[in-house]
């Protein structure tokens, strides 16, 4: 074997492919996130009915569904390593940055897949207005990036704790409350048919959150991973 000839991107890619392969064989995270997303969406739509819902309520409901689906499944990427006892092997062999980037990419794919299925159903079941599709997709992309950048680091922090699930939600909530408020505000305006310029402030806030969170994660992950 040629030693030290593989770059960071390739190492991160093999971590991502390994997690994807494990997920496709177990389907734990995929089933959890899809069931949570679709179940809550169905309950919301059957309870509130289809027409005349204010855009503010629709925006809040949409992000509640995405947030709780994310907290239900995204911690699994690290919890699985600790529970299977493979975390130690990974710590001793892999560059921490490659582990973080690979797992961030995996969470991005998992959450993107969930929103790709739940979002069309949300529009169908709630009869939400569809005029501002492109601005909505922009907000959605920023939301997925923001949720994953924060939850991936928190997942690494809680993976060794005894009460992982509860701790994950408790730690994610204060971290994500501000970006969630921005997401709800921006989605409300987009659904109400406002121009993209009207959502400039929350979009800038979300971009700043993603950059800050990703930078902090890249700097802190090594310490979180080795503690």
């Amino acid at each position: 074997m040629q030693r030290a000839s593989v770059g960071l991107a390739s190492k991160a890619l093999v971590v991502f492919i390994k997690d994807l392969r494990l997920e496709l064989r177990s389907k734990y995270g995929l089933n959890t996130i899809m069931m949570f997303g679709i179940t809550t969406l169905a309950i919301v739509s059957f309870t509130l009915g289809q027409s005349g819902l204010p855009t503010q309520l629709l925006a809040a409901l949409y992000w509640i569904i995405v947030f709780f689906s994310a907290t239900a499944a995204l911690s699994h990427v690290f919890v699985r390593e600790e529970e299977a006892g493979t975390a130690l092997t990974l710590r001793l062999t892999a560059d921490p940055l490659a582990v973080y980037l690979g797992k961030l990419a995996f969470n991005l794919v998992l959450l993107s897949l969930m929103v790709a299925i739940v979002t069309p159903l949300f529009f169908i079941l709630t009869d939400a207005p569809t005029e501002g599709v492109y601005p909505f997709l922009l907000i959605l992309t920023l939301g997925v990036l923001g949720l994953c950048s924060a939850t991936t680091l928190v997942a690494a922090i809680i993976s060794k704790a005894a009460v992982k699930g509860a701790l994950f939600a408790v730690l994610c909530f204060p971290l994500l409350i501000i970006p969630l408020m921005m997401l709800v505000s921006a989605t409300d305006k987009v659904l109400a048919g406002r121009a993209l310029a009207d959502v400039a402030a929350p979009v800038q806030g979300l971009v700043a959150f993603i950059v800050a969170m990703t930078t902090a994660s890249l700097m802190l992950f090594k310490f979180v991973w080795h503690e």
């Binding site: 074997m1 040629q2 030693r3 030290a4 000839s5 593989v6 390739s10 190492k11 093999v14 971590v15 390994k18 392969r21 494990l22 064989r25 177990s26 299977a84 006892g85 493979t86 130690l88 092997t89 990974l90 710590r91 001793l92 062999t93 892999a94 560059d95 490659a98 080795h226």
Partner: protein, 205 residues
């Protein structure tokens, strides 16, 4: 020429001192065995040297031609076989070998994988999921993973645990081979394995 220098290493868990003032120096072609009763800190010492546990005091230096190796270089040149390590049950043996080989910074060829599987007696079982392996087969596969990068520092914690007689013989051949070209650190109470080491570090006395 690689060197491993351990200087007055001490480890505590809370108020309990696990070991104190452990010092030794090894260079390529040398081996040391840590021996001692259960709970004496053999595995903890191995993990502390590898940096997985924080030491309460003392220093550990991995050197190559007199120059200290950084964290990533240590990761690339040191391997561990231990009962505390696990491989991915839902991946095949070959997938595990490819993954750990690449993620540790190397390029793994199919031929290298076949050679290693043959060495540890798992020829023809490379496509099986590791979850379907017995504990002895998993231990053999850990050796294949550890030897992927031809380590310059080979750490073996209870090297023959879970192995049958033929597995133990393979491990002893591996130790005999690597003690000539690497630095080998063995945590064991088995006399057959201690005899490969020039020096013995007794813990818990």
């Amino acid at each position: 020429m690689y060197e491993l220098k351990v200087d007055r290493l001490r480890k505590r868990f809370g108020r309990r001192t696990v070991f104190t003032d452990i010092s030794f120096a090894l260079r390529t072609g040398q081996a040391i065995a840590f021996v001692g009763p259960n709970g004496s800190g053999k595995s903890t010492l191995v993990m502390t040297i590898l940096g997985y546990h924080h030491a309460a005091a003392g220093n550990v230096s991995f050197l190559s031609d007199g120059q200290p190796l950084d964290e990533s270089q240590v990761r690339a040149s040191a391997s561990l076989v231990s009962p505390y390590l696990s491989l991915y049950d839902q991946l095949t043996a070959e997938e595990n070998l490819k993954f750990f080989g690449t993620v540790s910074g190397g390029q793994v060829t199919g031929r290298r994988i076949n050679d290693l599987l043959e060495l540890v007696g798992l020829s023809g079982r490379g496509d099986d999921l590791v979850g379907a392996y017995s504990s002895g087969m998993k231990q053999r596969l850990k050796y294949a993973v550890a030897l992927l990068g031809e380590p310059d520092f080979l750490f073996l914690d209870e090297p023959t645990s879970n192995l049958d007689d033929s597995g133990k013989e393979i491990v002893r051949q591996v130790i005999d081979d690597y003690r000539r070209k690497s630095i080998v650190i063995i945590a064991t109470n088995e006399r057959e394995e201690q005899q490969f080491a020039e020096s013995i570090c007794r813990l818990g006395e």
